[in-house]
Structure formats: C-alpha cells, structure tokens
Amino acid sequence: MLRWIVWRDLILAWRRRADALSTLFFFVIVVSLFPLGIGPETELLRSIAPGVVWVAALLASMLSLGRLFANDYQDGTLEQLLMTPQPLYLVVFGKVAAQWLTSELPLICIAPLLGVQFGLSNQTLVVLIVTLILGTPVLSLIGSVGAALTLGLRSSSVLISILVLPLYIPVLIFGAGAVEATIIGLSPVSHLYLLSALTVLALIFAPWATAAALRISVE
C-alpha cells in the first residue's frame, strides 16, 4: 500500500513535471534575490547564507503543499483512499514521502550550488546538506497537517502559510543554527541532534494529526 501510494504520486508528479520544477526555480530565484537586495560583500553574504537558504526552503515548501491533497480531493480519489481498509496513517505517510521526493529533494540537490554563490566553504556546504536532509521531512510532515486542514477552502494557499510557518520556526532555528555554528568554527552537532529529535517527533505524530484532519475535512 505504502509503496503503491508513493509510486502513484511519483508518476503523477512526473506527468506534471512543471509543478516540481517551478518550486525549484522559485527556491533558486528567492535565494538569488538576496545578494541583489543586500549587496555583494562576501563577508555579509556568508553570514546570512544559512538563514536565507533555510527561509527560502520554508517558502518553497509552501508552494507544493497546496497540491498535496487538493488534486486527489477534487477528483474524488481522496475519498476512496479514506475508505481503504489500510490505516490512513500509511496513506498520509506515502503521500508525504512522495511530496518530499518530488519537491524537497530537488531543493537539497541544488542547495550546494547556491551555497557556493554565497561563498560557503566545503565543510559548511556538507553541514547545510545534512541539515536540509534532516529538516525538510519535518517541513513536509508539519505542512501536511496544514494542507489537510485547509483542504477545499477559499484562499487555502495563503491560509496554509499562516498556519504552518509559525510551526516551522524550531526547524528554521536549528537548521540555520547548525550551518551558522560551522561558519564561526563551532561544532554543529548539538543542533543536528535537536533537529533529528524534531524529525523523529514529526515522523511519529504528524501523519496521525494529518489523518485526523483529513477525516474532518472530507466528511
């Protein structure tokens, strides 16, 4: 079941490649705007890089969340999925995994390139990638709760951002904090541990909350 859901969503995403690509380009463009707005001093850019990349990742994940359940909701697939004998937890888990693979993984792959633009060292780039790998699943998981709650509402995309962005703050703090610690020569390990703790918490609780929210939204 889990594999089937992931595979199906990946095929759907592949047939609408433009959606995933636009999220990626949004991420690249937002990050590239900062040097233009702030100025090209390497020192300054290096110090803001972790925050900029992470904030852009949060915003980019907002774009793909609206699509997480909306298409399935419109064509009735979601109702069928709710009626399957398998636990809804697994369905949600599969959909979130597919969303992560199609929307967040490309961001992680392109992030080193953006880091180089901001003059980050190799070691810092590795930490940036590690934080993104640990942190972006939390974004997808918490975001799925927001997506399920706002399903089928007017102006749901704006609403998702209001609901979900405040809940992203710990991920932002630990994610950007780890990279920043590396830049100033401290060990990022404590941040990474806390970030992993958030990931584990979100993996356990978020699909459950999303499943409850889906049952509420689709009645």
């Binding site: 709650l149 609403l159 809940l167 710990p170 703090i173 409850a212 009645e219």
Partner: protein, 241 residues
C-alpha cells in the same frame, strides 16, 4: 442538580447571561482598585522611575495570553473528543480574548521598552516567543473564520490548537536556545530581587481583574456564538424569547 444539563448551548445561554454580571462587576471594581494602587500608592522604582508602572497591565496581559492559549486548546480538545458543541464554542470565544491579551502584552512591552531600554523592540527570547504565540492565535482564528461549516471549523480548529499546544514548549525552548547563542540583548526585566509590597498587591489585583474580565467577555461572546449558530433551532427560540 444535573450539571451536564448546561453542556447544551440552549440551557447554557440563560445561565451565562446570569453569570456575566457576577464577573463583570468585580472586574470593573478590581481594575479601578488595581490601577489606583498601581499608579498612586506604589512607590516609583529607583532605576526606572514611573515608567515601570506599565508592568501592572503588561504582566497580567502576558500571563493571560499564555494561559488562555492552553485553556483554548483544552476546550477545543474536549469539544472534538466528546463532540461537545459548547466546549468548541468556548474555544472560539477564548481565542479572540487570548489574541487580544497577547497583542496587548506586545504593545505595552514596546511602550515599556522605549524609556527603559531605549528601543521599541529587541529580539529577546520572551518577546520573540510572545510574537510567535500571537501568530499561532492568528492561525487559529483565521482557520476558523474561513471555514463555513461550523462543525468542521470546530474540529479543524481543535486539531490546530492541539498541534500548536504541543509545539509551544518546543518553540519556546528553541527560541531561548537561539537567543542565548546570538548573545544580543539579554535583559532582566526586574533587576531587584524583591519588589515592594504595594507593587505586588497592585499586580495581583490587576491579574485578578484581567481574569474576571476574560471570563465575562468570553461568556458574552459565547452567547453571541450560540445565538448565531442556534438561531434556527426552534427549541432555542422558544427557550429564549
């Protein structure tokens, strides 16, 4: 007397109407007494002069902002778990008052910060987490107001409030961590270990006044919500007309 009778909005409506004056009147009296003690009897602070007196509004507002979020989440959770409509209505009613107090504590904090620290705002751990708390309230209120079906609004709000309540300690801890790492402005609000007796009294009286005010306003608002939602139920119309 069967207390569960009052879990029905129709029965609760007249009871709430009777209870409101019992909370509103003492709230008014205590506000008067507390402000009088705070502004005229309590001595000026030896470092901050008279500027500290905004504390008598600021501190109760900040406390209530936090407590009401938890209370709102409890009510929303009860409403969702036991399908109790009145509890959900209470949660929506509390959310507005809680957001108001959180906002008030931010504004009064800014007014207090300007004369004492020389700046309206610093990214201090407490202020930042209060700001995030306000965002959480705004999320709850805007989610509920954009759902037309009241039952769905209640339940969706409950999920959000419970997720929020789990997150509040995590957010608070992470903001504190972030703040200690970015050793910017660590500010102790009360420098002195003890505060003068009349200051403490004024603060406690104001805290009680704010609590009583909250109860009164929440009851008034929940009556409005009951009227809005139950206006088509014939037994309600008969009971109240």
């Amino acid at each position: 007397m069967n207390l569960y009778k009052y879990a029905s909005p129709t029965n609760f409506y007249p009871l709430a109407g009777k209870m409101i004056p019992w909370f509103a009147t003492p709230a008014g009296i205590l506000f008067g007494v507390g402000l009088f003690v705070g502004f005229f009897i309590a001595p000026p602070d030896f470092q901050q002069g008279d500027a500290y007196r905004i504390m008598f509004i600021h501190v109760p507002a900040a406390w209530l902002g936090m407590f009401l979020y938890i209370l709102m989440a409890i009510y929303a959770g009860i409403g969702w778990a036991f399908n109790a409509r009145l509890a959900s209505m209470m949660a929506s009613s509390i959310s507005i008052t809680g957001a108001m107090f959180t906002f008030l504590s931010l504004v009064t904090g800014a007014f207090w910060g300007k004369p004492t620290w020389g700046t309206w705002w610093v990214w201090d751990a407490r202020m930042t987490s209060t700001l995030i708390l306000l965002f959480l309230y705004i999320g709850f209120i805007s989610l509920q107001s954009s759902i037309d079906d009241p039952r769905r609004a209640d339940r969706a709000g409950a999920v959000l409030a419970l997720v929020g309540v789990i997150n509040v300690p995590i957010i608070y801890f992470s903001v504190q961590w972030w703040n200690t790492l970015h050793q910017g402005a660590t500010i102790r609000i009360l420098q002195k270990p003890t505060i003068h007796g009349s200051m403490l009294w004024a603060m406690l009286i104001m805290l009680a006044a704010c609590w009583l005010y909250s109860v009164a306003v929440v009851l008034i608002r929940v009556r409005c919500i009951i009227v809005e939602r139950e206006q088509n139920a014939s037994h309600f119309v008969e009971a109240t007309v």
